[in-house]
Amino acid sequence: MSSPIAEQRFREIVPPLLDDAYSLAKWLSRNPTDAEDIVQDAAIRALQALSTVSVDRPKPWFLAIVRNAAMTFMARNRRKTMAYIGDLTDLDTVDLPQGEEAAPNPEQELIALEDGERLRQAIAGLPSPFLETLVMRDINGLSYREIAEATETPVGTVMSRLARARAMLAKTLRAEA
């Protein structure tokens, strides 16, 4: 039930972004099966939207749809792991962790970085706003401005979330070493 022009745009935009979409959905849902459902939902929404909009920057545009589909999916299926409940701005106003940088144990941290499973667990343990920012930057390769667009967040917030996400990761890895 979509127009030929929408289908044409869809075929140009969505298939090349499937890996990015799937990876993002999998990190956000922490479940490969849910990730497939989320991407399929997102694709349906994208096809509908393409009947009326043309898209300048496909990647942040489609990943925004994936992110929103993930939030809807998690809420609807009562998945508790992704808690997008309440106002998260308070998280953003907390000062960045200071001090640890002054007394790191570089060797321990380097060893920890080689343990892929632990690193992945540490990433998965990040609160959602930080997780999605980190994934969009380091896995999807979006620029700050694109992340801001995809998450409907000011660039300044994106920057502080990313800095904080990386600081939290480093801290977790050090703590567990």
Binding site: M1, S2, E7, F10, R11, V14, P15, L18, D19, D20, A21, Y22, S23, K26, W27, P32, T33, E36, D37, V39, Q40, D41, A43, I44, R45, L47, Q48, S51, A75, R76, N77, R78, D95, L96, Q98, E101, P104, P106, E109, L113, E114, G116, L119, R120, I123, L134, V135, R137, D138, I139, N140, Y144, M159, S160, L162, A163, R166, A167, L169, A170
Partner: protein, 281 residues
């Protein structure tokens, strides 16, 4: 150094790492790196962390089955219904994920032809609602009554939302919600396309004992549609409930009693229990 300075410094380190500094910013940052070993060390650590993330958490390839389903969304015309009614009696238990999209759709078609003996070839359960209708509920009640009398409450027969959803998505312009309410006593039995104001619209059919409830999902801005909060009214002897969320208005028509419909609406709005998944690949 104040906290604020330290904050700024950390943001700048990250921005430098991500190639987000402009030319002047990069120049200043290079000087800082050269002149301040502490910053240089911090930058090193951050860069190793970033590299480790990229190495250990790489972008993953989407499963082929998913890519196939996405590709099928814009494939040409839907598969024609199978002319052999006896085909694929086990269609409704075939896990959706194991099949390509067109396959599962054809299977679902075959199921509604064969197992349940419905004449799908006769067309959709369309109801030609007059344009610009004042209120959609009246038409949905007529649609419900007609489907009941015809003994054909759905076009696609399946208790698997993974079969019903893409079937509907390919025929309507609404990306609807399908919740699994079997644990609450309302198993999904299928879906159909209802024409509302000339727009094909998804309707989900659930069963409860001997009764049926049909939930039609409409865009909030559709003509003649108004939202509601789940209250129940009676139209032509049928009970009708409507409620809405941010994107859709839901109208449920049923021959169940008011209490049971109220329970259904409550369960649907709360998303049902954990969704039953078909066998995972």
């Amino acid at each position: 150094m104040t906290d604020r300075d330290a904050n700024e410094r950390l943001l700048r380190l990250n921005a430098a790492l991500d190639g987000e500094l402009d030319a002047m910013g990069s120049l200043a940052f290079e000087r800082e790196l050269r002149d301040d070993p502490a910053i240089a060390a911090q930058y090193q650590r951050l860069s190793k962390l970033r590299d480790a993330v990229r190495r250990h958490a790489p972008r993953e390839a989407a499963p082929h089955a998913l890519a196939d389903r996405i590709a099928a969304m814009t494939a040409s015309a839907p598969a024609a219904p199978s002319p052999q009614p006896a085909a694929a009696p086990s269609a409704t238990v075939v896990p959706f994920r194991r099949r390509t999209w067109l396959d599962s759709r054809a299977m679902a078609m075959a199921a509604s032809l064969g197992v349940l003996g419905f004449a799908v070839g006769a067309g959709l359960t369309s109801l030609r609602t007059p344009a610009g209708s004042p209120d959609v509920a009246q038409h949905l009640v007529s649609d419900f009554a007609r489907a009941e009398i015809a003994g054909q409450p759905f076009d696609v027969a399946s208790s698997d939302r993974h079969t019903v959803k893409p079937w509907l998505a390919n025929r309507t312009t609404v990306s609807g919600t399908i919740v699994d309410l079997a644990p609450e006593g309302f198993p999904l039995v299928g879906g159909r396309v209802t024409i509302v104001d000339r727009v094909p619209t998804p309707t989900l059919v659930y069963r409860h004992n001997e009764h049926v409830v049909a939930v039609t999902e409409l865009p909030v801005d559709a003509k003649g549609v108004r939202g509601g909060t789940g209250g129940i009214e009676t139209i032509d002897g049928y009970h009708v409930a409507r409620w809405s969320d941010a994107n859709l208005v839901y109208v449920a028509v049923s021959d169940m009693d008011e209490k049971a419909l109220g329970e259904f609406v409550e369960a649907f709005r709360h998303g049902g229990g954990p969704a039953t998944e078909p066998t995972r690949p």
